[in-house]
């Protein structure tokens, strides 16, 4: 009985945790490179997922084509977000930049309402993988797909950031934009690229979350916040650790849902967030992008 409960927690926790982890990595990428907290992160997922839904309605997409379409669209979406927020206000006060992302999230929510309506939309499972039983742990189709998508993203992103020239440039900008600039790196391009990568990750997260819960115009902010909590748990510094933060959050939430009620789960999550923010040392922002 208890073991069944635990298996259930692991299954739904991993499915959610993979999504939170992807959101958290996108969040951390943007935050590290431009010290901007992106309130429109959830809308990247929302618009990506909804567009993918329309695509699957119009065409019959094989899995790989769906993956490629999601990635390309997410990439473009990230660039569009950059161009409409940080790109036009690179010298503005951080507060104004923050508020521009809030306004952008409102705009994109508006686009979602106008184009796709207010009813929730179910994204079909585009990467059907067989369910797996590992001893006592049972991973359903959705969970396995989410995990595979997330782990592959983490792997490719880590490889990109550590072993390509462009990836290293992004990391250099997040360490010290001024010094990076002196080495001939354009910080603006790196900021844009980090937004675009966050868009790709959000599109992957949309593919993972779409079949689990429906896509609705007002889901963005909540998911974005979960991404932030997860990034805070993971500590922003490394991609795998941020992802593990997301998985930890997903597992904790799944456990809390089964033990307590749904609303209490949210309360505990945010108390956890505040506690972490207040107690964690050295989390103060010092430098702003030049």
């Amino acid at each position: 009985m208890v073991i069944q409960y635990l298996a259930q927690i692991v299954n739904s926790g991993l499915a959610l945790g993979a999504v939170y982890g992807l959101m958290a990595i996108g969040f951390a990428l943007i935050f590290n490179s431009s010290r901007l907290i992106n309130f429109a992160q959830g809308e990247l997922l929302l618009i990506g997922g909804l567009t993918l839904h329309s695509l699957t309605q119009a065409l019959h997409l094989p899995p790989l084509a769906a993956l490629a379409a999601a990635a390309i669209f997410g990439y473009l979406l990230g660039h569009a977000l950059y161009a409409s927020t940080l790109g036009v206000s690179i010298n503005a006060s951080p507060l104004r930049q923050l508020m521009l992302t809030v306004a952008a999230s409102l705009c994109w929510q508006g686009v979602a309402i106008v184009v796709w309506g207010k009813n929730p939309v179910m994204l079909p499972q585009l990467l059907p993988l067989p369910p797996v039983r590992l001893g006592l742990v049972f991973l359903s189709q959705d969970t396995l797909t989410a995990l595979v998508l997330a782990l592959a993203s983490v792997f490719f992103l880590s490889a990109f950031l550590s072993s390509t020239r462009t990836g290293r440039a992004i990391r250099a900008v997040s360490m010290n934009p001024v010094a990076a600039r002196l080495q001939g790196i354009r910080p603006g391009q790196c900021h844009a690229l980090s937004f675009a990568l966050a868009g790709v990750l959000a599109a992957m997260a949309a593919m993972a979350v779409g079949p689990q819960t429906m896509l609705r115009y007002d889901m963005g902010l909540g998911l974005g916040l979960k991404g932030f909590v997860a990034a805070t748990i993971g500590g922003y510094a490394s991609v795998p650790r941020v992802f593990l933060g997301g998985v930890a959050l997903g597992l904790a939430e799944a456990a809390l849902v089964l033990l307590l009620s749904g609303e209490l789960k949210e309360t505990v999550t945010y108390i956890l967030l505040i506690g972490l923010l207040v107690l964690a040392p050295g989390k103060q922002e010092t430098a702003h992008p030049a």
Binding site: L98, V102, A103, L106, G110, G117, L221, L264, I274
Partner: protein, 323 residues
């Protein structure tokens, strides 16, 4: 000393005079909408204490207004007609709560503080939802009691509440201006400019900022109290994150630290936005675009401090073809 009226005071007087005139001549049913805007404007003013004076971003305004509303309604259901005692106690309690909350969060950076205070707002909403027996949960709570002032009787009606909102706002504005001009106010401004330098000059940063944060919480709670007894019905939706985010948006549009400009921005932009009802489903998009435009307009004005007219005049000088 002669009575010198500064520019800021004159602007504030003009602003309140216009609003009071509007309140006298607008028909009752239209005041309903204006009162909603005034509620938001009070929250913007409250946020101005935190952000304009203390330099601390806060997304807890919605939660603080909600705490004021729920506390007042629940207290009134136990002690009807005790408004004279209940309201000050609620506002003072909100002050204490906000000050206490601000204390440990004081050292967080801008974005992290935003997220932490946002967490406070969300915790409030979820606590209200969880404690359904006391708060009515998501279904909300009917407000049977009215605010009672001895000598005046029960307060009700759109126009009465319009002037109540307005007088609370005037009091808040006076407090803001007085605080800004005092020693603690100048210390707060110093903290805003450079927290490290300020604390090395012997300023107790955490204490001062908890004062400004607490005042912000108190003003929001007062706004919540008025809103609850005016509307006759409260639910967690009214005090959701949207309220906090909107307050912050309007404050940034008007410029934190300015007294009248954010309030005027609220009244004008909100009136425009409530006039957009005819757009139907496209409303959210239009609101987003309008707010983006307002934010960018403020930014472009700030990077071009010289009036654009002179530049434009030079570029169309004789012999040069205008674009």
């Amino acid at each position: 000393m002669t009575l010198a009226i500064t520019k800021g005071a004159r602007n504030a007087l003009v602003f309140f005079a216009i609003l009071a005139t509007v309140g006298f001549f607008l028909p009752d049913y239209r005041l309903l909408v204006v009162n909603q805007h005034l509620f938001l404007a009070l929250n913007v003013l409250a946020l101005n204490f935190c952000l304009g004076l203390g330099g601390q971003i806060s997304l807890a305004q919605g939660g603080m207004a909600g705490i004021g509303a729920y506390a007042s309604v629940i207290a009134h259901s136990h002690f009807p007609q005790a408004s004279v005692i209940v309201v000050p106690v609620v506002v003072l309690a909100a002050f204490g709560f906000a000050a206490a909350v601000s204390r440990p969060m004081e050292r967080l950076g801008e974005g992290f503080l935003a997220m932490a205070t946002l967490g406070v707002s969300l915790i409030f909403t979820n606590v209200v939802l969880t404690m359904g027996e006391v708060t009515g949960g998501s279904a909300g709570l009917m407000v049977d009691s009215r605010l009672y002032v001895p000598g005046l009787g029960e307060l009700s009606g759109d126009r009465t509440f319009f002037f109540l909102f307005l007088s609370v706002m005037a009091c808040g504005c006076w407090m803001f201006a007085a605080l800004k001009d005092s020693r603690p106010g100048r210390a707060l401004l110093a903290c805003k400019d450079d927290p490290l330098a300020a604390s090395s000059c012997g300023i107790d940063r955490a204490a001062l900022r908890s004062l400004s944060f607490g005042l912000g919480g108190a003003v929001s709670a007062m706004a919540g109290v008025l809103h609850a007894h005016y509307g006759g019905f409260i639910n967690p939706e009214q005090f959701s994150l949207e309220l906090s985010l909107k307050a912050l948006l309007f404050l940034v549009i008007g410029g934190p630290g300015n007294l009248v400009r954010p309030l005027a921005a609220v009244m004008i932009l909100e009136t425009v936005m409530s006039g957009m009802q005819f757009l139907g489903e496209a409303r959210t998009l239009a609101h987003g675009l309008l707010l983006t435009a307002a934010l960018l307009a403020g930014y472009w004005r700030s990077i071009r401090p010289i009036p654009m007219l002179t530049i434009a005049a030079r570029s169309v000088a004789p012999g040069r073809k205008p674009m």
